[in-house]
């Protein structure tokens, strides 16, 4: 072929390839077959939000931590503060997650000190939490929250993409979950909007905005990194605290009317 043909060929090849080049990831994050960021894998939070979302000092078996609440304090309505105090004082017997192994709800399930696995395909993203094998489905097929459903411990989650950020809208959250072990609480009006943004292949920035007109004076936001669990052949194991707690409570008990 002559030189002009080569130039022409290169010119057309470049033009035709332009659209693909425009979509190429700038930061090298893994991508799924549909082009979206691929969150598949095990993730875990390293901070102390599970104990207390706000600034807290160390105490026996609880590390100190800087809070994850933007602005510092959770903006409670004055009428909601007594319940927060009462929860804190009775947390060792009343925390539904720690004392009863009930599913932690959203956002608390994200920052429990246990890994969780993101299982992703184009229509459904599932988060499988090692704590009590809790799980939730995030429907990314464009469907709305269903009408007239009761509340769920892990809520009802509907997701969509804004560029490379997964935005998850969570409603129907049971009001019996706590936001952390310090007794931060909410009502059945809680609405959470989460944002997951991969900042590099092994870190996701997790942000969650909480609004609850019965408990807080305004929406407020938390954020923290999620760290990819890098170990070879890492997998979710089992933390079956329902069984552990039952054994503790009833292991030596006699049923009513037993011989």
């Amino acid at each position: 072929m002559n030189k002009r043909a080569v130039v022409l060929f290169a010119f057309w090849s470049f033009l035709l390839a332009l659209p693909a080049l425009a979509q190429a990831p700038a930061r090298g994050i893994p991508r799924a077959a549909d082009g979206k960021p691929d969150f598949n894998g095990l993730w875990q939070v390293l901070g102390t939000a599970a104990w207390d979302l706000e600034d807290h000092n160390g105490s026996l078996r609880m590390p100190a931590g800087q809070g994850v609440v933007e602005g510092g304090a959770i903006p409670y309505q004055a009428s909601a503060l007594p319940k927060k105090r009462e929860n804190f004082q009775t947390r060792d017997i009343n925390d539904p997650a720690e004392a009863a192994c009930y599913m932690p709800g959203i956002p608390r399930a994200t920052y429990m000190p246990f890994p969780f696995e993101i299982i992703q395909n184009p229509k459904l993203i599932t988060m499988s939490y090692e704590f009590g094998h809790a799980r939730r489905s995030i429907f990314t097929d464009g469907s709305p929250h269903p009408d007239g459903f009761p509340d769920f411990w892990m809520g009802d989650s509907r997701g969509r993409w804004e560029g490379d950020t997964l935005v998850v809208d969570v409603t129907n959250l049971d009001d019996r979950t706590w936001l952390d072990h310090a007794g931060n609480h909410h009502s059945d009006a809680l609405h959470v909007v989460e944002r997951y943004t991969m900042t590099d292949p092994d870190h996701i920035l997790y942000e969650a905005t909480l609004e609850d007109s019965k408990v807080f004076t305004r929406p407020w936001k938390i954020s923290m990194p999620l760290y990819r669990r890098m170990e070879k052949n890492v997998r979710i194991l089992e933390y079956e605290c329902v069984q552990y707690i039952q054994e503790q409570k009833y292991g030596n008990a006699k049923p009513v009317g037993a011989k």
Binding site: D147, G148, F149, P150, D151, V256
Partner: protein
Amino acid sequence: MRTKLWVITATAVILAMAIPAAAHHSFAAEFDGDRPVTLKGTVTKMDWVNPHSWIYVDVKDQSGKVVNWRFEMGPVNALLRMGWRKDSIPAGTAVEIQGYRAKSGQPVANAKQVKLPDGRELFSGGSAPNLP
């Protein structure tokens, strides 16, 4: 606006292929298959929980005293898939419930069927055996 309820027809029975009986839990540990009850009353509330939802009904006994009965129904997902919604049976609805009494003697029973004022019957999705 009250959500319309679905009523299960005989064709659904045909579709219920061999589901292992193994799956259900201790009806026999808690309820007495030899003590069926049919009670009429007014709904006070409904608890949507697994593995069994509960419907609470104020029932007047022979002396006229009102006792709040608790009836065990099927799991949340069974009720949702049958078409029940949160507003399906609001507090204040008059119902007639057939079921089996708890062994404990408490005003608790396992509900088989809930009949509404207009005569429609709702399967509770629960675990009790066939009524005669």
